[in-house]
């Protein structure tokens, strides 16, 4: 996978094989392929790997939006709640976030992950993120 597809991702996200698949109206669509690094019970995605993709997609859209607004912050996670809707299979998995609230100090982001059928997400998450001054 090209390095360009990994720009702006954390070492953890790059290591897990997450890449930027596409961008839709400023929202990055992230993905990873099925492989040993993301496998839970045999033949299925591990919920932790799916959560990592969801969380990375939440950060990605927030970073994009802050850059668009010319705002510089250090991001700190407050919490994440993940709903697991169906078992992930041996296929590529995609995730995209949507900013539901962007304040001065905190953001609330909803994320969905899907495989074959975008209208049937395999997992969703809500994440709250603090935005502090960059030098702190």
């Amino acid at each position: 996978m090209s390095d360009a597809g990994k720009a702006g991702l954390t070492p953890y996200a790059r290591s897990l094989g997450i890449t930027v698949h596409d961008e839709e109206h400023g929202a990055p669509v992230l993905m990873f392929d099925f492989g040993g690094e993301v496998e839970g019970r045999p033949g299925h995605l591990h919920g932790g790997a799916t959560s990592g993709l969801l969380e990375t997609a939440a950060y990605a859209i927030l970073r994009n939006e802050l850059a668009r607004l010319g705002r510089k912050h250090r991001l700190k996670p407050i919490n994440i709640t993940v709903q697991f809707l169906s078992a992930g299979k041996q296929r590529p998995t995609y995730a995209k976030g949507r900013i539901t609230k962007l304040g001065r100090r905190n953001a609330n982001i909803a994320v969905e992950a899907w495989q074959d059928d975008r209208d049937r997400p395999i997992a969703t998450a809500i994440m709250n993120i603090f935005m502090t001054d960059e030098d702190r």
Binding site: G52, K76, V82
Partner: protein, 159 residues
């Protein structure tokens, strides 16, 4: 050796009973858990503690030597599964329904993170788990979690 204790630890009284100390090396050796390098630390009747070793390629930021939060979700999900099987006394297929992680603070630089999960209630269909992650001092956690898991014994295709 005969077991004379009146309140034997799980796994001691019945060789078929799920024992996380014996099952962990197998369960943690492959797939996502193996990739993260999760290790067994300890367990009780309804809890399990695992370790997520510090590793450079699991960092949350390029310029900070702090573990990302993503692997901590995986750590807690895995510790949750193990504590449920420990409380059940057997290895039954379960699926995570809902998992919430509240991050109190980042882990320290180059610190391993330990995940302690407790199954506080088990019903026929659901398992309720709470837990915390710490980086050496259990009294100063880096995160707390709450999760609900579902038994998928019959037909895993429907999950």
């Amino acid at each position: 050796m005969a077991d004379q204790t009146k309140h034997p630890e799980p796994g001691r009284s019945n060789p078929n009973r799920f024992d996380p100390s014996r099952a962990a090396p197998m369960l943690l050796s492959h797939g996502h858990a193996g990739w993260l390098g999760l290790e067994y630390c300890g367990h009780g009747a309804d809890w399990v503690e695992l370790k997520l070793p510090w590793r450079e390629d699991l960092l949350g930021e390029d310029d900070h030597e702090v573990l990302a939060s993503g692997p901590i979700i995986s750590l807690m999900d895995m510790a949750s599964g193990l504590c449920i099987w420990t409380k059940m006394g057997g290895f039954n297929a379960i699926a995570t329904l809902d998992l919430r992680v509240d991050y109190q603070r980042p882990a320290r630089e180059r610190a391993a993170v330990f995940g302690h999960a407790e199954c506080y209630r088990l019903t026929r269909s659901a398992a309720f788990v709470r837990g915390f992650a710490h980086d050496g001092d259990p009294d100063d956690p880096v995160a707390h979690i709450a999760g609900v898991f579902m038994s998928i014994g019959g037909d895993p295709r429907n999950v």
